[in-house]
C-alpha cells in the first residue's frame, strides 16, 4: 500500500508545457506502444527532461527519474535490504519501483553512471523486458505500461564516458537540439514570461553564444538559461543585468569570453 502511495507521487497531473520540434512525440508514443526504450540525446537545457515529463503526462504514467552519477551502484537502482527495528527489510530501488508500477523510468545523464551499473538495464531494455532481482530471487517481468528512457549529452562527454554499443543498441534514439528561432522565442515567451521582442533578443543572444565553440566556449546558452534570464526580467531586473547573471556568468569563467558575451549583451539590449 505504502509503495502505491509513493509511486502516485510521481504522477504528473498538470500538463507540462512542451512545444514539439518535429515528430518526436509521435515517435515516442509509437515506441511506447511497441515496448521499445528511448534514448534521448542532446545538449544541456534543450528540453530532454521536459519532453519526458510531457510524455509521462500524455501517457498518464508515473515518471521515476534517476540522476546518474559515478557512484551509482546496481543496488541504488534495483533495491537493497535495510535494517528496520532489528529486521532486514527489502526496499525497492527506483528502477524496480517503476517496473512494478508500470511507470516510466528515466535515467538522466546515463553516461555518468559506471558501465557495470548500466548493464543491469540490459535485460529490461530488450524484448525480454525483465528485471532479475538477485537478492530476492525474483524475476520481475515488466508490464506493457512500463517504459525505460535514458538521456545523455553527446557534446561534452569524453571518449571514456561513451555508452557501450551493447547498451546503445537497445534503444531508439531521439536527437534533440535547440529549437529554431521562432519556436525558441515562443518557449521563452511562455516559460520566461517575457514579451515577444525581448524573448527574440534573448534567443538571438543564445545563437551568438552557440557559435563561440571555436573560441573556447564548449556549449552556448541553453533554452533553460534564456528562460531563467527572462524570469529575472519579468521580476523587474534590468535586461543587461539579468543577462549578465543568468547567461554570461553561468556560461564561462574565461575573462575574455566573459567580456565578449557582455559585449553581445550590450549590443542586443
Amino acid at each position: 500500500m505504502s509503495k502505491n502511495i509513493r509511486i502516485d507521487e510521481h504522477l504528473i497531473s498538470v500538463e507540462p508545457y512542451y512545444l514539439p520540434l518535429a515528430d518526436e512525440v509521435e515517435l515516442a508514443e509509437a515506441a511506447y506502444g511497441a515496448g521499445i526504450p528511448l534514448l534521448l540525446k542532446g545538449p544541456t537545457g534543450c528540453g530532454k527532461t521536459r519532453f519526458i515529463q510531457y510524455l509521462a503526462w500524455k501517457l498518464k504514467r508515473p515518471l521515476v527519474t534517476v540522476s546518474c552519477h559515478d557512484d551509482l551502484s546496481t543496488s541504488d537502482l534495483v533495491g537493497r535490504y535495510l535494517i528496520r527495528a532489528g529486521e532486514a527489510v527489502w526496499t525497492d530501488g527506483p528502477l524496480t519501483m517503476a517496473v512494478r508500477a508500470g511507470a516510466i523510468c528515466y535515467l538522466d545523464e546515463i553516461v555518468e553512471a559506471r558501465k557495470d551499473t548500466t548493464v543491469v538495464i540490459h535485460p529490461l531494455a530488450d524484448d525480454r523486458r525483465e528485471l532479475p532481482i538477485e537478492k530476492l530471487g525474483e524475476l520481475l517481468v515488466a508490464p506493457p505500461e512500463f517504459m525505460l528512457a535514458v538521456s545523455y549529452n553527446p557534446g561534452y562527454q569524453s571518449v571514456l564516458k561513451d555508452l557501450k554499443p551493447s547498451t546503445r543498441q537497445r534503444f531508439i534514439a531521439l536527437s534533440f537540439d535547440y529549437p529554431d528561432l521562432e519556436r525558441e522565442t515562443a518557449i521563452v515567451v511562455r516559460e520566461g514570461d517575457v514579451e515577444k521582442d525581448l524573448a527574440r533578443l534573448l534567443v538571438k543572444l543564445a545563437h551568438m553564444t552557440r557559435s563561440l565553440k571555436d573560441s573556447g566556449l564548449p556549449e552556448g546558452a541553453s533554452t533553460r538559461l534564456l528562460i531563467q534570464a527572462g524570469k529575472l526580467m519579468a521580476k523587474g531586473i534590468p535586461a543587461r543585468t539579468a543577462c549578465r547573471v543568468a547567461i554570461t556568468g553561468p556560461l564561462t569563467d574565461d575573462p575574455e569570453l566573459l567580456t565578449a558575451i557582455d559585449e553581445m549583451v550590450s549590443s542586443l539590449f
Binding site: S158, E256, S267, L268, F269
Partner: protein, 761 residues
C-alpha cells in the same frame, strides 16, 4: 667609452658570432659619449635582441641613444620587448618603424595620451564578431576599416575620443558595421533578380559589375553609401543596445565637409542620415533613398538605386574627388574581397577534392554488375569504376526523392560514371557553397578527387622511409626568453618523425637478462591494479554486514546503543592515470647510458602492461630551433607489441637536447588525455642544450617555463636523471621533490619501475 672599447664589449656580448666589423662600427657610433649607467643598460639588451635578429639589433643600437633621451632607463627593457613583439608579429620593417618614433609609439601611450589600440581590444572583439557572424570570421589590423568577407580589418588605433570606453565603442561599432556588410550580402548580389543581366544564374560580384561603369569609383562610393544606410537600419533592428549606446558617439562624429554641387549634397544627405542627424525634408535625395530606410531592403535594391543616382550624378562628376568615409563605415575594398574569394575558392576546392577522394576510397569496390562498363569490376581498389582520366559524365543530382527540398539547393548525390554516390552532409554543404559560387561543380574538381582516390591518396598513406619519415605536419611552439620575460613567438618547429628501425637482438637479450626481475615486477604491479574490495561496517551499502548486524542486535539486547554501520559496500579504487615517458636521445646518451635507458624502457613497459595504466613513450632530439624532432615510440593508444619493442630497440643517440619544445609538445598531447592523474616522466642524462645559443641559464629557464606550462595544464612533470651535476639545476627546473638522481646508470633499469610505483601509489 671609446669606440674601440665599445666594439670589444659588443663582440663579447654576441660571441661566438662574429659580425662584420664595419657594420658594428657603424651601429655603435652613436653610443659614444653616453654615460656609463645608461650605456650598460642599453648594451644589456643586446643579448636579448641579437639572437632574434641581427639586423634588428643593429637598428636598435643606432636608435637607442635617441630613445634614452625620451624614456626613463627603467622603461628601456619594456620598449625593447614591444619592439620585439612588433618584429615577431609584423617583421623587421615594422619593428624599425616602431623604434623610430619613441615619443609617438611608446611614451605617449604610456602616459595615457593616446587612444585605444587594436591589440588591446582584439581579445574582446574577436569572440564578439564570431558570435555575431556564427562562423569563423577573423580580425586583423589595417590602416583603415574594411572587410574582405573572411576577415574584418580594424584600425590600428582609435583616438577619436578622450575616453577609452568611447573609443572601444567605436571599435565595436566598426566591427558590427563591417560584419553587417557581410551578413547583408553587400558584396554579392544575386544575379537572377533585378536589372543586371537577369538571365544569368548565380551571384554577381560587385567588382566585375562596377568595372563596366565609366566611373567605377563613383558608383562604388554611391553603392557603399547606400549600403551603409541599409546596414544602419539593419543594426537598429538587430543590435538595438549597441545602436542606443552609440547615439552619443554618433553625435560627436561630424560629417565630412562637402561641396555645394550635386555629388556633395548627396553624400552629405547620406552621412546625415547614417549619423541620425537632422535632414532637410525638402532634400530631394531623401525621397530617393527612402526605400532603403525600411527594414528588409536588399542589396539588389541598393544597387538599383545606386545606378539611378549614378545616372543623375555622373554628368557633373567628371573629376569626382572621393570623400572621406565615416570612421565606422570604412572603405569597400572590392579587390580584397575578390582575392579573399579566390582564396576561399581554392580552399573549397582543396577541401572538396580531399573529402570526395576520402569518400571514394571508403566505398566498397564496384562489382561486375554495378555498371554496364566492362571495366567496372577491374580491380580498382578505390572502388572507382574507371581510371581518373576516364571519370566523366559527372552529374550533380539534386535532392532526388526528397520532397519539400528545393531542387539543387543542397546537392546530395553525385554521379560518376553512372555510379550514384551519396554525399556526406559536410560534403553536400561544401558542394552547395561551390555551386553557389561557380554555378556548378567544375569537372576538374571531381577529376582530381577521383584521381587522388585512384592513386590511394598520397596524403593518407605514410611512407616508412629510412631516416625518419615525418609523421605529422610540423608544429611551432613559443620559446621563453627569461631576459625579456616574454615568449619568442613561434620560435621552435617540432616535427614528429618515425624512428629509423634497426634490427638487433637487444630486446631478446634484455628480456632474458631481466627475466626474474620482470616476473617480480609483474607481481608487484599486479598488486597495484584497480582493486575492488568490500568495506565493512558502512552506514549505507549494497548488502547487510551480518557480523555488524549480530553485534548490533547483541548490543541492543545488552542495553548498549547499537551501531548503525550495518552494511557492506563494494569499493573500487580506480587507477585513472596516464603517463608519458620522454626519452632524451641526445648524442651524450651513447654507450652505456643509452643501453640502460632502453633496458629500463623495456622493463617499465612490461610492468605497465600488468598495471593497465595508459602510457606513451616519445624520444626527442634535434638541432637548432627549426629542427626539434620527436620520435613516437609508443603513443598512448598503441598497444605494446613487437613493433613498439622494435622501436625501443632502435632508440639511438642522435643530436642535441633542446628539452623545452619536447616538453611543450608532450603537454599538448597529454592535456587532451582524459585522466585523473597525468604524468610526464623525462629520462635525461644532462642539462638542456642545443647547438646554437640555447644553453646555460637561457636553456634552463626555458625548460623551467615549459614545465610550469605543463603544470598549469594539470600535468605532473617528473625527471629521472643520471647527470652527476643534476642537483645544481634540477631543483630549480622541476622543483625539489620532482626529480630523482640515479648515481649508477646500471641501476636505472631496476630503479625505474620502482620509481613509477612510488610515484603513483
Amino acid at each position: 667609452m671609446e669606440l674601440e672599447e665599445l666594439k670589444n664589449v659588443f663582440f663579447e656580448l654576441v660571441a661566438p658570432d662574429l659580425p662584420n666589423e664595419w657594420d658594428v662600427e657603424e651601429a655603435i657610433e652613436s653610443l659614444e659619449g653616453i654615460p656609463e649607467e645608461p650605456l650598460a643598460t642599453a648594451l644589456g639588451q643586446v643579448p636579448v635582441i641579437w639572437p632574434v635578429s641581427n639586423s634588428l639589433c643593429f637598428s636598435y643600437l643606432t636608435q637607442v641613444a635617441g630613445a634614452l633621451n625620451c624614456i626613463e632607463l627603467g622603461l628601456l627593457s619594456q620598449w625593447v620587448n614591444e619592439t620585439l613583439d612588433h618584429y615577431e608579429r609584423s617583421g623587421l620593417k615594422a619593428a624599425q618603424r616602431f623604434m623610430m618614433d619613441v615619443q609617438g609609439h611608446f611614451v605617449c601611450r604610456l602616459q595615457g595620451r593616446s587612444g585605444l589600440r587594436y591589440s588591446q581590444v582584439k581579445g574582446r572583439l574577436l569572440p564578439y564578431v564570431r558570435g555575431l557572424a556564427k562562423k569563423n570570421l577573423d580580425l586583423q589590423r589595417a590602416d583603415c576599416a574594411f572587410t574582405d568577407t573572411l576577415t574584418i580589418f580594424l584600425p590600428r588605433e582609435i583616438s577619436l575620443f578622450t575616453n577609452e570606453d568611447d573609443n572601444f565603442l567605436l571599435y565595436k561599432l566598426i566591427a558590427s558595421f563591417q560584419w553587417s556588410y557581410i551578413a547583408l550580402d553587400s558584396f554579392l548580389v544575386s544575379r537572377n533578380r533585378g536589372r543586371a543581366n537577369p538571365s544569368a544564374k548565380g551571384i554577381l560580384w560587385l567588382q566585375d559589375y562596377f568595372s563596366g561603369f565609366s566611373n567605377p569609383v563613383l558608383i562604388a562610393d554611391i553603392y557603399h553609401g547606400l549600403e551603409t544606410l541599409r546596414v544602419k537600419v539593419f543594426l537598429d533592428q538587430e543590435l538595438p543596445g549597441l545602436m542606443r549606446d552609440a547615439v552619443p558617439i554618433l553625435a560627436k562624429i561630424t560629417a565630412s565637409p562637402f561641396g555645394r554641387e550635386k555629388t556633395g549634397r548627396f553624400f552629405a544627405t547620406f552621412q546625415q542620415l547614417v549619423l541620425s542627424q537632422e535632414v532637410d525634408q525638402e532634400n530631394g535625395w531623401l525621397q530617393h533613398v527612402k526605400p532603403l530606410l525600411m527594414y528588409g531592403a536588399t542589396a539588389r535594391d541598393s544597387l538599383a538605386l545606386a545606378e539611378d543616382i549614378y545616372v543623375a550624378l555622373s554628368p557633373e562628376a567628371g573629376d569626382y574627388e572621393r570623400i572621406e568615409p565615416l570612421s565606422f563605415q570604412g572603405r569597400m575594398q572590392l579587390g580584397q574581397v575578390a582575392s579573399a574569394r579566390l582564396e576561399q575558392r581554392r580552399e573549397q576546392e582543396n577541401l572538396f577534392v580531399e573529402s570526395l577522394a576520402t569518400l571514394l576510397l571508403t566505398l566498397p569496390p564496384v562489382t561486375g554488375d554495378a555498371g554496364d562498363d566492362d571495366e567496372a569490376g577491374g580491380g580498382h581498389e578505390s572502388g572507382l569504376a574507371a581510371p581518373p582520366e576516364e571519370a566523366v559524365a559527372i552529374v550533380i543530382v539534386g535532392n532526388r526523392g526528397r520532397p519539400g527540398e528545393e531542387e539543387n539547393k543542397n546537392p546530395r548525390f553525385i554521379t560518376i560514371d553512372n555510379r550514384e554516390i551519396e554525399l556526406s552532409e559536410e560534403l553536400a554543404e561544401l558542394a552547395a557553397a561551390i555551386t553557389l559560387d561557380l554555378g556548378t561543380i567544375p569537372d576538374q574538381y571531381i577529376a582530381s578527387a577521383t584521381g587522388k582516390a585512384g592513386q590511394g591518396t598520397p596524403g593518407l598513406t605514410m611512407s616508412a622511409a629510412g631516416d625518419g619519415a615525418e609523421l605529422s605536419a610540423p608544429i611551432t611552439y613559443d620559446e621563453w626568453d627569461f631576459r625579456r620575460s616574454g615568449f619568442r613567438l613561434n620560435w621552435c618547429i617540432v616535427t614528429e618523425k618515425e624512428i629509423p628501425i634497426t634490427r638487433s637482438t637487444f630486446i631478446r637479450n634484455t628480456l632474458d637478462a631481466y627475466h626474474g626481475q620482470i616476473i617480480r615486477l609483474r607481481h608487484q604491479f599486479e598488486m597495484m591494479r584497480t582493486s575492488e574490495r568490500f568495506v565493512r561496517r558502512q552506514r549505507d551499502g549494497d548488502d547487510i554486514d551480518l557480523d555488524a548486524l549480530v553485534e548490533s542486535l547483541a548490543d541492543t539486547v545488552a542495553g548498549r546503543p547499537p551501531s548503525d554501520r550495518l552494511f557492506i559496500r563494494l569499493k573500487r579504487d580506480e587507477r585513472d592515470i596516464a603517463a608519458l615517458f620522454l626519452v632524451d636521445m641526445s648524442n651524450s646518451t651513447r654507450g652505456w647510458v643509452g643501453k640502460a635507458i632502453k633496458e629500463s624502457l623495456v622493463l617499465i613497459c612490461e610492468a605497465m602492461e600488468t598495471l593497465g595504466d595508459r602510457y606513451g613513450i616519445y624520444g626527442f632530439s634535434g638541432m637548432r630551433r627549426l629542427r626539434c624532432e620527436i620520435f613516437p615510440i609508443k603513443t598512448i593508444d598503441q598497444i605494446y607489441n613487437d613493433e613498439v619493442r622494435e622501436r625501443i630497440g632502435s632508440i639511438a643517440p642522435r643530436e642535441y637536447t633542446r628539452m623545452a619544445p619536447a616538453i611543450r609538445h608532450m603537454t599538448s598531447i597529454l592535456k587532451d588525455v582524459d585522466a585523473k592523474v597525468r604524468l610526464l616522466i623525462t629520462l635525461s642524462d644532462g642539462k638542456p642544450e642545443d647547438y646554437d645559443e640555447y644553453k646555460g641559464e637561457y636553456a634552463i629557464e626555458d625548460t623551467r617555463h615549459a614545465l610550469i606550462e605543463a603544470k598549469m595544464a594539470g600535468i605532473h612533470p617528473f625527471c629521472i636523471t643520471i647527470d652527476q651535476h643534476a642537483h645544481e639545476y634540477m631543483a630549480h627546473m622541476y622543483g625539489e621533490v620532482n626529480y630523482i638522481f640515479i648515481n649508477d646508470v646500471r641501476k636505472l633499469p631496476a630503479r625505474m619501475p620502482e620509481i613509477y610505483r612510488v610515484l603513483t601509489s
